[in-house]
């Protein structure tokens, strides 16, 4: 916490973590408050639409998965994937806009903030946004009777961690991107495969064994593995700490890499 004497030149590759990220986070919160309605529609309305339409449409075809109605199965998956998309969009498009077009970061760096504060502020803001979307979805899902019991609220801290992880990964892409077009690679090559192979829409066991094993490299798999039991009222898998640890490792590694890359880009 003592960033007063933290010296970027001597600190090495590790990010300097200080409370000075809070004004960056707060700035984004204040903007969000102004644009709340379209933002909520995008981050919460759209996944809800997917849930209801896919759940209803496919649900009739698929029937139950195990003892679960398809809609219940899907709800716990979509809450995870929407957290991934919310956090990623924020750390890609919005952060890139603030870095380049608006030069918001430039103004922050002229004040006594460091690149490290900005990265931490942006990533935690994106995680916060993911959490807000997940909370809203959880409320609606419970109103629709798609949530087993109160223990589902334990999914929310996991959503915050997941949001941080996906935002940090996206921030790595933002750090090396020279235009908005570059993000399409990330969507096509990383996010879409992750969405399809992480057990959001169907159980991983349906995949060929090798593919299912490889899918365990994807952080979303581990998020779903913890969130789904919490939402449908099953007991957690014995390995739940390992799942969360893996997400944390991804989050930390991506955050460190993004900070290093952005330091080089903005303060080289």
């Amino acid at each position: 916490m003592n960033a007063r004497y933290a010296n970027p030149a001597r600190h090495g590759v590790l990010p300097i973590v200080s409370r000075r990220f809070i004004p960056v986070w707060r700035r984004n919160l204040l903007v969000w408050r102004k644009l709340m309605v379209p933002s909520i529609l995008g981050n919460f309305g759209e996944p809800l639409l997917y849930l209801i339409v896919l759940g209803y449409g496919f649900g009739r075809l698929v029937g139950d998965i195990g003892d679960l109605p398809y809609m219940v199965f899907l709800a716990s998956g979509i809450i995870c994937s929407s957290a991934m998309f919310t956090a990623s969009f924020e750390a890609l498009y919005s952060a890139y806009t603030r870095m380049t077009v608006q030069q918001t970061w430039g103004a922050m760096l002229d004040a006594p903030l460091l690149v490290d504060d900005i990265v931490l502020g942006e990533v935690s803001w994106a995680a916060t946004k993911a959490l807000m979307g997940a909370t809203a979805m959880l409320v609606v899902a419970s109103l629709l009777g798609l949530v087993a019991d109160w223990k589902a609220v334990l999914a929310l801290p996991v959503m915050l961690l997941a949001g941080f992880c996906f935002a940090a990964c996206a921030m790595v892409i933002t750090a090396v991107s020279r235009s908005y077009d570059f993000f399409l690679y990330y969507f096509t090559l990383v996010m879409t495969p992750m969405l399809l192979l992480s057990g959001v829409f169907f159980p991983l066991e349906e995949l060929p064994e090798l593919v299912a094993a490889a899918a365990h490299l994807l952080p979303l798999v581990h998020v779903v593995a913890v969130v789904r039991p919490l939402m449908i009222g099953e007991s957690l898998p014995a390995l739940w700490p390992a799942h969360l640890l893996l997400v944390t490792v991804y989050a930390t590694a991506a955050f460190t890499l993004a900070t290093a890359l952005l330091r080089r880009r903005l303060a080289g």
């Binding site: 960033a3 007063r4 004497y5 933290a6 010296n7 970027p8 030149a9 001597r10 000075r20 004004p23 707060r26 700035r27 204040l30 903007v31 102004k34 644009l35 608006q102 030069q103 918001t104 430039g106 103004a107 922050m108 760096l109 002229d110 004040a111 006594p112 903030l113 460091l114 303060a267 080289g268």
Partner: protein, 324 residues
């Protein structure tokens, strides 16, 4: 506050070189910056004294902005030592920036907020908050004549208003040093005059200013001392009047086109120095009478007589080739 500053300015006026009595606000020795194989700052020594307005002049790509970025700790020097407000840079750049205001070259006001919100949000980026932030913002809005626009969105502001808001934002932390990168570029004459007035007011309050500019008039009017920088080196550093006195003859006569051709031989004979720029003949003289009388007697010749200015010095020292 006023008395010692006057003393400093007088001392500077007499002699552009530094005596070491007042501690420097900025002290750079052998400052270097290399990007890959290209060294853009190649050994810069700088001393900026408290309360003065110090100008950095140079053609595009001379290294001005890089020097400013290093002063602010935004990019580490590859060589040399640097102290700003007694803080070693870049090691304690965060602490130094706590006491510095910055007006960037291109406005980067926050488009998602109103005028007042821009100031309030920016204030939060500092560790030290004003005792009464609302009052501080009111004062700054008045200082920059934006008090009627407090709730306007940024998009509704003219270029001049944006610049004034950038200046107000740079003052939110009550800085001892304000760094301005081309503060009046792109402004109309009214807006520019207004910015100059505000900068002079800041100097009157004891604030130290460092600015870069392309406008010689701006440099001549505002700066107590200035450094002309080219190819990453300081090639001259002095008061504006000393620079003109030292590097250029005080009187300039200009002739164009056919007139220049017709009078070339005679003019060059009478002038202390002469040069052609395109089809314009520039004749420089220490004493204006000989040239002036001869030109006056020549009927039908169009010429323009003017005192030498900083632009002449600048062009003499940095050459007339275009820099892109």
């Amino acid at each position: 506050m006023a008395a010692p500053e006057e003393a400093i300015r007088e001392a500077v006026d007499e002699d552009g070189t530094l005596d070491s009595t007042p501690p420097a606000i900025v002290c750079a020795r052998g400052l270097r910056k290399r990007y890959g194989g290209l060294e853009v700052v190649r050994g810069v020594d700088l001393d900026v004294r408290p309360g003065e307005c110090f100008g950095l002049l140079g053609p595009n790509g001379a290294g001005k902005t890089t020097v400013l970025r290093m002063l602010l700790g935004l990019t580490p020097p590859t060589g040399g030592t640097l102290t700003v407000l007694d803080e070693p840079i870049p090691v304690r750049a965060r602490e130094a920036r706590e006491r510095i205001g910055v007006v960037p070259q291109a406005d980067n006001l926050d488009p998602d907020f109103t005028v007042r919100e821009n100031l309030a949000i920016y204030a939060r980026y500092f560790a030290r908050q004003p005792a009464d932030p609302d009052r501080r913002i009111d004062d700054l809005l008045r200082f920059s004549s934006l008090d009627g626009r407090a709730d306007a969105p940024i998009q509704a502001l003219s270029g001049g208003m944006k610049r004034r808001l950038s200046l107000a934002r740079a003052l939110i932390n009550g800085p001892e040093l304000v760094v301005l990168d081309e503060p009046s570029t792109g402004l109309d004459p009214q807006a520019r005059q207004y910015i100059w007035q505000r900068l002079l007011a800041l100097l009157g309050q004891g604030c130290t200013l460092i600015l870069t500019t392309h406008y010689m008039e701006e440099a001549e009017r505002l700066c107590d001392r200035l450094a002309i920088i080219d190819n990453g080196r300081i090639i001259a550093c002095d008061t504006p009047s000393n620079l003109v006195a030292r590097h250029i003859e005080p009187h300039v006569f200009e002739l164009r086109g056919g007139d220049a051709e017709r009078w070339h031989r005679q003019g060059v004979g009478l002038a202390a120095r002469s040069e052609y720029v395109g089809d314009t003949l520039l004749l420089y003289a220490v004493e204006p009478d000989a040239l002036g009388d001869a030109l006056y007697r020549e009927s039908g010749l169009r010429y323009w007589q003017r005192p030498a200015n900083l632009e002449d010095v600048f062009l003499r020292l940095t050459g007339r080739d275009l820099r892109d």
